[in-house]
């Protein structure tokens, strides 16, 4: 399966059960509670991570929450 992850073309083993959440786990992304994901140009609501399937040709971007306080 070929997808784009943060601008990099990536080849993954075929897995029809792969979701956004399981992809992040597969990529060893830590602190996933603080990760925002954009799938094909649309920012996903967090509950959708566990249900949104990852398909051939998908363009996925993710980044961490950026914030703080004094």
């Amino acid at each position: 399966m070929n997808i784009s992850i943060n601008g990099k073309e990536t080849i993954l083993a075929e897995n029809s059960a792969r979701t956004v959440d399981s992809l992040l786990e597969e990529l060893d992304v830590s602190q996933r509670l603080y990760v925002t994901v954009e799938l094909n140009g649309e920012i996903l609501d967090r509950p959708a991570y566990e249900t949104a399937p990852v398909k051939e040709g998908d363009v996925i971007e993710f980044l961490y929450f950026m914030g703080g306080g004094c």
Binding site: N6, Y34, E61, L63, Y64, M66, G67, G68
Partner: protein, 133 residues
């Protein structure tokens, strides 16, 4: 060490002063350790004590940096009334790997202070800032 053009360094301070008494935030991009791009970001918290970036703006910046062949080098924010040191919340939420965290303090309004830190898994290390013309 992070190397910052004087115009960018001054703009961060101006941004903090313009936004006072609220916290402001932004992203710096560049290559290796040298900054060449500056993005003022929206503090969606609009708070004197907190900042939070808008993910849509974050994605737009990341894509713009990538298109320019640059990477994200630093995340900055202001402390309108407290020192240029990361708070517990700053440390806890320093989640983006491999970037510097810059803090602009306006605690002394006549003499803004800027410090840069590397923060990883709760460990904080101050780093030198070199301002270039």
């Amino acid at each position: 060490m992070i190397i910052i053009p004087k115009a960018t360094y001054d703009d961060m301070i101006t941004h903090a002063q313009e936004g006072f008494p609220l916290e402001v935030c932004g992203i710096l991009g560049g290559i290796y350790d040298t900054v060449s791009a500056n993005y003022r970001m929206t503090n969606t918290d609009a708070s004197n004590e907190h900042f939070m970036m808008d993910p849509r703006e974050q994605f737009a910046v990341v894509k713009d940096l990538r298109a320019k062949g640059l990477t994200m080098l630093a995340i900055y924010h202001s402390h309108p009334e407290t020192p240029a040191r990361p708070s517990k919340e700053d440390i806890r939420l320093a989640l983006t790997p491999d970037v510097s965290y810059l803090i602009i303090s306006l605690a002394n309004a006549d003499k803004p202070e800027v410090n840069s830190y590397k923060i990883s898994a709760g460990n904080v290390q101050i780093e030198a800032i070199k301002v270039i013309i």
